[in-house]
Symmetry: C2
Subunit: 300 residues, 2 copies
């Protein structure tokens, strides 16, 4: 394990401990009844063994600007709840109809469809609860900017809108620009938010926030491109989900459109662009630069 | 039309104008692509001709404490987006499987199931966007308290949790206390939020906020009890939806458990309790008292 991988693993572990605590079925003083079954489904959907890349980006972006580490972990956990909701709903029969995720039954298979819909709804709602909760020790200004940025990243102009464009793309294939836009919304927006969030947590200057936003956009593109490459070249055992799925559904990807060689060169170019962008922060940018490289070169 | 009904109608009209503007498919400067179909489904789900009782409670609670009227309308619209999301998802085949709402095809019938899931998700997300947006001219403290209160009212300890308990109740009927808890979460929490929101918007004193919260709880109970009575005594033409549906599903209601006479007496008692609670505000409480009475006595 490289030092970078050790760092990523440690953040994933800490994020999961926090999610475990946030999604516990223990009774809270202010509540009259706990819908235990629903919370178990939320816990199942959120603690699914991901790499926790988004929380890592939040924590490392905040660290670069000297932001509060505990607050960053809580924002990371909120983002992971929101990301998990999108996976739970995307897997539903009416959507992608997936029965496995990371080799385990999806939420609507392990529980039932109604519970999966509700668990997704509740995870989405909980993300905003966590940001606004007093336990997330941040100033009101930072909190409200995080709420707004996350709502925009997840809403019609972001992830949900991208998913809608993706459903439409199954009927009519988009062109290159259409695919770029769709992916920037569907997967890019949350990754961009993760990087921008660090700057907000640390109350960084507006130009730093904009630079992190741009960095997040590039990392988001690299993430999706690497994903499309993996979908084409990996087998199910490595991926923990059905491989070649996108191609089988006729979903247009940039890799399908422009080829594997182009995609590999483009990934190198994106890593370089991301590196140049935050080189201005010197040594403090090292972990984020490693992250961009890791995202582009990952094998699963 | 009574003066109260005229007031309610005027607020509904203004709320719908605002929702119409907020859910317009016009391109926004910050967005690269608008998923028009998704926004149309959100618009269809949110502009469904309801009485807009929740926004009315927000606006009138804020007015009682001298809160900003425009801000109250925007918080009312946000709440209505959130309420609409819950209706769109509740109507889904995996949930209540309803094909009609207010005499019109439900969202998954008028569009399709995937679009209905996404439209609900996006309406829920948009509620937090509206609260946090700079256009909702409120201080950061009020905004963050609204985000937190709404997330709690809608989440596992509130509406989503109540819906989960409701699904479980189809398998095993809850007792009287169980029904009260379920209903307080499923329908009560948002109505309570509506009343509490007015106090938050106006930066009212903590004891006023607590009193409005309690007032909202009582109005919420009256709302649900009146609903259960209507389900039992109305026909589909008056309700705009299938009548006797709850009884047919074997869903336990307090009316089924304790009878119609008890329910009518209980409604009188709740109106009295609500009135006594806010009598301390004198004449300024008149509209909210009228609202409690209207909620308890409504015929549709």
């Amino acid at each position: 394990m490289t030092p970078f991988e050790a760092k990523l693993t440690a953040t994933a572990k800490r994020t999961e401990e926090l999610l475990n605590e946030l999604l516990s079925t223990d009774t809270r003083p202010q509540e009259t009844a706990r819908p235990t079954h629903l919370i178990e489904a939320m816990h199942y959907g959120a603690l699914n063994g991901g790499k926790r890349l988004r929380p890592f980006l939040v924590v490392e972006s905040a660290a670069m600007f000297g932001g509060d580490r505990e607050a960053a972990f809580r924002i990371g956990a909120a983002l992971e709840c929101l990301h998990s909701y999108s996976l739970v709903h995307d897997d539903l029969p009416a959507m992608d109809d997936d029965k496995l995720r990371r080799g385990k039954p999806t939420v609507h298979i392990a529980f039932d469809e109604a519970t999966a819909i509700l668990a997704g709804d509740a995870l989405l709602t909980y993300a905003f609860d966590i940001i606004a909760a007093p336990e997330t020790a941040l100033g009101d200004r930072a909190r409200i900017e995080l709420v707004l940025a996350l709502a925009r990243a997840a809403g019609v102009g972001g992830m949900a809108g991208g998913q809608a464009l993706d459903l439409a793309a199954e009927k009519r294939s988009p062109d290159e620009q259409g695919i770029i836009t769709l992916q920037a919304m569907k997967t890019g927006a949350l990754i961009r938010f993760a990087c921008e969030a660090g700057a907000i947590i640390a109350s960084a200057r507006p130009e730093d926030r904009m630079r992190l936003r741009r960095f997040g956009e590039i990392v988001g593109r690299a993430f999706q491109l690497a994903d499309d490459l993996l979908d084409l070249t990996s087998d199910a055992a490595t991926l923990g989900k059905a491989a070649g799925k996108d191609a089988a559904r006729g979903k247009g990807t940039l890799v399908a459109l422009k080829g594997q060689d182009w995609a590999e060169a483009e990934l190198d170019r994106l890593v370089e662009e991301a590196t140049d962008l935050i080189a201005v922060y010197g040594d403090r940018a090292a972990t984020l630069i490693d992250t961009a490289r890791f995202v582009a070169k990952r094998k699963s």
